[in-house]
């Protein structure tokens, strides 16, 4: 289980950097499109579609990291209430529900890729599984993080592990 936690931590670190680079790529393509249109009077036909697809990849990598750091918006009515045991089980249950949703996204995302993946995107010309695949992969990443967090809630990480987790920030 320790190695699973370590693997998820590394995965989250990778997703954090990947999401940042996707955002950088979005900015670059957007600027290139503006420059080409006004500077060279020649539009990049695939820029808008490309940016939208990059944003979908960024969303699922970023959402995985946000899930790891508990950065998703919530109503947090039970924060600080009850004892330590209640808090631990409450967190575990919440992560279990997150895992259920992520599992659904992984399952249905995979089916969707299987059924529609061979279609071609209108302007970029790429196979659409490169886009729908982000949703299925996002489901998998969120599921792995949720499982690690369930385990963290019931059996909190050691100081060394928590320190490593802290370094991710």
């Amino acid at each position: 289980m320790r190695s699973f936690r370590a693997a998820v931590r590394n995965l989250v670190r990778f997703c954090d950097h990947a999401a940042g680079w996707f955002l950088i790529a979005i900015v670059i393509v957007n600027l290139a499109a503006v420059f080409m249109r006004y500077g060279m009077l020649s539009a990049i036909s695939w820029s808008e579609e490309g940016i939208r697809y990059l944003a979908i990849w960024m969303t699922f990598f970023g959402a995985t990291v946000a899930s790891w750091y508990d950065e998703h918006l919530d109503m947090n009515m039970f924060a600080g209430s009850g004892g330590a045991t209640f808090q631990a089980w409450h967190k575990a249950i919440l992560h279990f529900f997150t895992a259920v949703f992520s599992g659904f996204v992984l399952w249905q995302g995979s089916v969707y890729v299987y059924l529609n993946g061979m279609q071609t995107a209108p302007t970029t010309g790429i196979r659409i599984y490169w886009v729908y695949g982000a949703i299925a992969l996002g489901g998998l990443l969120l599921l792995l993080v949720s499982l690690a967090k369930i385990w963290d809630s019931i059996d909190p990480p050691t100081e060394v592990e928590a320190g490593e987790k802290g370094q991710l920030m």
């Binding site: 999401a19 957007n30 944003a55 969303t59 919530d74 109503m75 995302g109 969707y112 949703i135 299925a136």
Partner: protein, 424 residues
């Protein structure tokens, strides 16, 4: 429909992150309505596949870069110069900084994180109570999502299919009114002799530099607004250019930002955007299920209740938004309610921009209303105080800002006048 509402209420009150609560409630709805589960992916994709939406990460990252690039310090020096050495000058400078910073950041949390650190810690040294300083900055923070650029308006425009540009322009007057409302509370405090003289000054020899830097910072919102109104750029393109301008200011002009800081800003903005976009994706599934489940019949009933009483409908909506804001953040509340209520307002002949502004400002109040307003938590954390201490001072600002909402309800021209005049 009751199955979705019930499961959503249980999951949200249980503390599940809102995006996942929406997703699971939608799955319950799909099961009850016997719809294909594949809709989950199709609708999530449809929710995210929007070019308009892409302006949001640009404004988020521009705000992050501005924060890390030493913008807030320069803006505060600039407002200090503008306000001058009047009694309570620092309090008025905080209000002015909130209005001007709103033109840069686009989110309330960015505003309070940047301005709160400075004002909440410095104002007590002049003789203000810490709670008053925190209340002032907290109340001012909600101007952030109202004055353009605004992340919440980008999202609203994408979901409700309304011109983002018109919304941006429509936000200017309400944003200034919110600033005036905060200023009025400060003024009333001054009448009671409770405002200390200001000690925040800029030395004479630094004046030209401070003014120049302030104008450089403020050229960003000017560039976004005028560039988009004149039709040179789309709001999404202007967002991308704003990012480059923020990098230029932070790295080249102010030399406050290095490459590591730049990458951290992008990573942080990507996470924030992703959390927001996942929410949009799951709300899209909920809205789809609600439509199939017959939300249209419910809206027709609502229209018949308020027949020929558009003002009454607006007032009812404001009350509902303020109550919902007690529990739900502005973003999710707008995402869930906009597609449901906008058709009702259209049937009653209310202007889309008028209704949208009332809705956005009312929902934004949820950011500063207890018990779960996110700006309250940030403020309490910075000022190291309890929610009760903060609310004691904040309530007067809150009531004044509610007064602005009433003005928006009764005088549509405050929202629609500027967009109609400029005709973007």
């Amino acid at each position: 429909m009751s199955a979705i509402a019930l499961s959503l209420a249980i999951l949200l009150l249980g503390g599940l992150p809102i995006a996942f609560a929406f997703g699971l409630a939608a799955i319950v709805g799909l099961y009850v309505e016997q719809l294909a589960m594949l809709s989950i992916v199709a609708k999530m994709f449809a929710g995210l596949d929007s070019f308009v939406l892409l302006a949001a990460p640009f404004y988020i990252v521009a705000g992050e870069l501005m924060n890390r690039g030493g913008i807030s310090d320069r803006l505060i020096r600039f407002t200090t110069i503008l306000v001058g050495k009047i009694k309570g000058g620092t309090a008025y400078s905080a209000v002015l900084a909130a209005v001007l910073f709103a033109g840069i950041s686009g989110t309330a949390v960015a505003d309070i994180a940047a301005l709160g650190q400075i004002y909440i810690n410095s104002m007590p040294k002049e003789g203000y109570s810490k709670a008053f300083a925190a209340a002032l900055v907290t109340a001012g923070s909600i101007i952030g999502p109202i004055i353009p650029p605004s992340v919440i308006m980008v999202i609203y425009a994408a979901v409700a299919d309304i011109s983002i540009l018109k919304l941006f322009i429509a936000g200017i007057v309400p944003g200034i009114l919110l600033g005036l409302a905060c200023g009025a509370i400060v003024f009333l405090k001054g009448l009671r002799g409770e405002l200390p003289p200001t000690s925040m000054t800029v030395p004479r020899e630094q004046l030209p530099r401070a003014i120049g830097e302030g104008l450089l910072v403020l050229s960003l919102p000017g560039f976004i607004v005028f560039g988009t109104i004149s039709g040179v750029f789309t709001p999404t393109e202007a967002g991308g250019i704003a990012v480059v301008y923020a990098i230029f200011l932070g790295m080249v002009v102010f030399r406050h930002l290095d490459v590591a800081g730049l990458l951290r800003a992008f990573r942080s903005a990507a996470r924030l955007t992703a959390a927001l976009f996942l929410l949009i994706a799951t709300v899209e599934i909920v809205n789809y299920v609600l439509i199939i489940a017959g939300i249209e019949d419910w809206t027709k009933q609502l229209v018949s209740v308020f027949m020929n009483q558009p003002t009454l409908l607006l007032l009812a909506c404001v009350v509902a938004f303020l109550i919902i804001g007690l529990a739900l953040d502005a973003g999710p509340a707008l995402l869930l309610l906009a597609p449901v209520l906008l058709p009702v307002s259209r049937q009653m002949g209310i202007d889309d921009i008028h209704f949208s502004m009332v809705m956005i400002v009312s929902c934004t109040m949820g950011l500063i209303s207890p018990p779960v307003g996110i700006c309250l938590f940030v403020s309490c954390k910075i000022g190291n105080m309890t929610l009760g201490e903060l609310w004691k001072e904040l309530r007067w600002f809150f009531y004044a800002e509610c007064g602005v909402i009433l003005l928006l309800v009764f005088f549509p021209v405050l929202s629609t006048g500027l967009p109609n005049w400029l005709r973007p």
